[in-house]
């Protein structure tokens, strides 16, 4: 149940249907993924004299990201938080002399963050998933596809359990959760019923897939 070259493939396990269309956009996503990986790794390894070139590349990504309606404030928040923490530590431990060095470090942190932000703004998650199935074994690709297709069900389940438990007076409202002492209540009221649900769901999904001869043949089978 893995897509490999097929134009339209349909997975149908346990009532969850996913239509995967390959072709347009996949090449762009794969290129974007590699570009983001290279640029964010370069932020760690590139020599300081070449940092200006990296800044220019990242500026291009920011402009493209903002053009694609990405939230610029996300970058601003990361930059400000890093700037305050790192520069204060540099000032306390080394005095004024090495503040510029501290600022360079903050700049590198930002350069490592921007490609990821750009990727999330410009590439659709399902396309990234499709690219990843090229390198993953068929079973794990199926696991990811099944998990993602069941995500709306899981989210709905979490919301329903959460709201019902809130109505019952559990101390799990966003305000109450600011106190870590209430987190155990979240675990027992929301996560525990969910885990039971997940165990049941995994058993059903596995049985449904195996009844459709999943993993019986060496060559990956497709549901069309």
């Amino acid at each position: 149940m893995k897509t490999s070259g097929g134009r339209h493939c349909r997975n149908s396990v346990n009532g969850a249907n996913t239509v995967i269309k390959s072709g347009k956009g996949i090449g762009w996503t794969a290129t974007g993924l590699i570009l983001a990986l290279v640029l964010s790794s370069a932020a760690f390894f590139i020599a300081t004299q070449y940092l200006f070139g990296l800044i220019i590349c990242n500026l291009g990504l920011i402009i493209h990201g903002v053009y694609r309606r990405g939230d610029f404030w996300v970058i601003g928040r990361v930059f400000l938080a890093q700037l305050v923490i790192t520069l204060s530590l540099y000032y306390l431990m080394h005095g004024k002399d090495q503040l510029l060095e501290g600022a360079t470090v903050v700049l590198r942190v930002l350069m490592a963050f921007i490609p990821g932000w750009w990727l999330s703004v410009t590439c659709r998650p399902e396309k990234i998933g499709e690219v990843l199935t090229w390198i993953l074994p068929a079973k794990w690709a199926f696991v990811i596809a099944a998990s993602l297709s069941l995500l709306p069900t899981m989210t709905r389940e979490v919301r329903e359990i959460y709201q019902i438990q809130c109505l019952r007076g559990a101390r799990i409202t966003p305000k109450a959760l600011k106190d870590p002492r209430n987190w155990s209540e979240l675990i027992h009221c929301v996560i525990f019923p969910l885990l039971i649900q997940l165990l049941k769901l995994s058993k059903q999904t596995a049985m449904a897939a195996q009844l459709r001869h999943f993993g019986k043949h060496k060559k990956t089978t497709h549901w069309r």
Binding site: G102, G116, P180, I187, I191
Partner: protein, 181 residues
């Protein structure tokens, strides 16, 4: 290596669901405490639950890397390919330490020790990143200490919650792995 990750389809699906739930909860709850390290709470909890339910070495690593992949696909956290390391490295460290401590301690203390090893790997990752970015060793060490302190508190909290949850699952006859005690 293939044998380590050769889970039954049901176990693999449970690991995948846990990973997806971890990422979904992280994005849904958005525990804006203003304290770095709170992500270690959900990570430690779900990784240890995976080990408790599946009961095999490799389950934590599989859950970690799947969480990273799902987070990358759903653009949760800071996004980008490096998020794989953020989720994967603590999971790998926890799995390796689980091999070391298997049978040595009671479940509760094993969870605590393994969780803290995961937290150490998480803080060490931040430390190495900071050093690679050219931060001085002193500042990087202070940041490492702070990460360890904050992440450690959340890890401890999560690790202590795992044994009661596993006991309740066993009481409901949902766990078939009797080795995890």
């Amino acid at each position: 290596m293939r044998k380590v990750f050769n889970f039954s389809l049901q176990d693999a699906l449970f690991i995948g669901f846990c990973a997806t739930l971890l990422v979904a909860l992280k994005s849904m709850l958005r525990l804006k405490l203003g304290v770095a390290g709170h992500s270690m709470f959900l990570m430690t909890f779900f990784y240890l639950i995976c080990y408790g339910v599946v009961g095999r070495v490799g389950s934590i690593t599989a859950c970690g890397f799947l969480s990273g992949l799902v987070a990358m696909m759903l653009s949760v956290g800071k996004g980008g390919p490096l998020i794989l390391i953020k989720f994967g490295l603590p999971a790998l460290a926890m799995d390796l330490s689980m091999m070391l401590f298997a049978g040595l301690l009671t479940l509760k203390w094993r969870c605590v020790v393994v969780g803290l090893v995961g937290c150490f790997a998480w803080a060490a990752k931040v430390w190495v990143e900071n050093l690679l970015m050219g931060m001085t060793i002193q500042v990087a060490l202070v940041q490492f200490g702070l990460s360890m302190l904050r992440g450690g508190a959340f890890t401890l909290l999560a690790a202590l919650m795992v044994p009661p949850v596993l006991n309740r699952l066993r009481a409901h006859d949902l766990l078939f792995n009797e080795e995890i005690k």
